[in-house]
Subunit: 167 residues, 4 copies
């Protein structure tokens, strides 16, 4: 049976703290442990930490990057999709997801949440990860639809998300 | 000299009130009066009302739609770009703008604001137009960068925007 | 009534001869005289000459360019769509066309012909313009479908194309 | 070290003969045996047969499809990228390739060859597979650049391609 594809989104290098990296690493690890495929934007910060977490737990990782050139992806991506469409690749990421976990993030993460929301993908936001994701998702998206706030830990986020996806 | 291209964004048919339509119509009219080209997403609600406002004031209107088929655009678009890329066309709209005016709107409008923000386009949000635009832009984007809140009227919005663009 | 949008494709600066430029200029002029809107890829060579031909005959011109930045378009484009999707914009061009005229060209032009063919757009190839267009279209696309070979002049090409579009 | 990503292109269901399917299956198998990742357009015909060939030889398969919905991909894709950009996904495929093998094909395959050519990806065309690929590539692309004609077998194609990629 086809494995689930879980998108993890959040800060790129700028704005990514050691705390967010730790959360991202653990989230990537949980994705791998659940036998799912990790999808990220393939660059730095949360994307890189999550990919490392998945790889170090025998997971499969896919990086969908804005550039034309595969070599721009971080070294923890097994498969690289160099989209060549710049920031629009946020929407490709969302389309490629069975479910989404958001960790912190700024305007890019927010546009990915919007895309995921419009494509009706289940979304879980890591409580306490701050950034735009939490604030925005908490206030402006309709939780009755497909956004779930309040996972305390990456493990919890993955549990909530899988339940939503299988539903 | 090349005319400015002004993107007007906001609610599609669902969620578009007569008040928003009136604001959109007046905004389209102001875009035309300033001798600028109106860019919209080419569909209903705010997009259609703004296009009508521009057309009835001798403006030139461009609709960039998600679909493959030109006939999906509203009848007030002189030029139709049927992008065939679905919701990603929000980013095409943002790239095609010298400046952006937001009127109300939901998750789609929000993703266009994010895109415009990331591409460093001047953005003006119509005060009192409600919706995601006002709330979001007010709280989460950096006003020192390229977002201006607080235009009271379409005329005022256009004035602020042109000043930003020429700057 | 909505004006027709006619896409003119062919060589960029490299490979564009004075003969091709002359053909392109005349083709742009014919598009304008037919009261249609000219769509091009917005860059040099055939695209620029066609746009100039349309502008000098009071036509409206749209340039859909690969880059993010409007200023990369040639100065004869009234409307610029900076697609930010690189070479994929060949497909945007094809989608934006009611009909297509091909003048010479290489691999880029060929991909635009393929796209136009797949989207079932009427295509006319200028006989004697050489390049990939003529050779390819002559041999590999199904003329019974939507490709017409054999316009001797830009005026003739426009006549054939309009007949196809209205059909 | 990052595995190579090999794109296999050719006919969709319509126009795909048992002979082409056999060639595609063997090509997918060779991609897997070389420890490379198979990229395809994720639909039927050559794409499906190649994916099955790779899966039955323990390979990893990626399908990049035109649609928004993952379930449109064939069942032999481990990873599915539902691009939502329609036929433009041919360019995504080309960008995602370290090298390309073409088997038969029509106008879609031809646009992928054009894209691969413009992105300077090494391309090998299977001799005797017929279709547009052979005819076109033989006559119109510059063999000194990145197109190699004349692989007699899938095994041979993979050898030529790997040599080109490593070069």
């Amino acid at each position: 049976m086809k494995k689930f594809q879980i998108l993890v989104i959040g800060n790129n290098d700028n704005g990514c703290t050691p705390e967010l990296e730790k959360l991202a690493y653990e989230t990537g690890a949980e994705v791998a442990k659940s036998n799912s495929i990790l999808i990220t934007g393939g660059l730095g910060g949360v994307m890189k930490a999550a990919s490392r977490g998945a790889k170090e737990n025998n997971g499969l990782t896919v990086g969908i990057i804005p550039q034309n050139d595969m070599s721009e992806a971080n070294e923890f991506c097994d498969v690289v999709i160099p989209s060549g469409i710049g920031l629009m690749r946020d929407f490709l990421n969302a389309l490629s997801a069975d479910g989404v976990i958001a960790i912190g993030g700024g305007s890019g993460t927010l546009s990915e949440i919007c895309a995921s929301y419009m494509y009706s993908k289940p979304i879980v936001v890591l409580k306490n990860s701050g950034g735009t994701s939490t604030k925005f998702a908490d206030q402006y998206l309709d939780h009755r639809k497909n956004v779930k706030i309040g996972a305390d830990t990456p493990k919890h986020a993955m549990e909530i998300l899988l339940e939503q996806i299988k539903h």
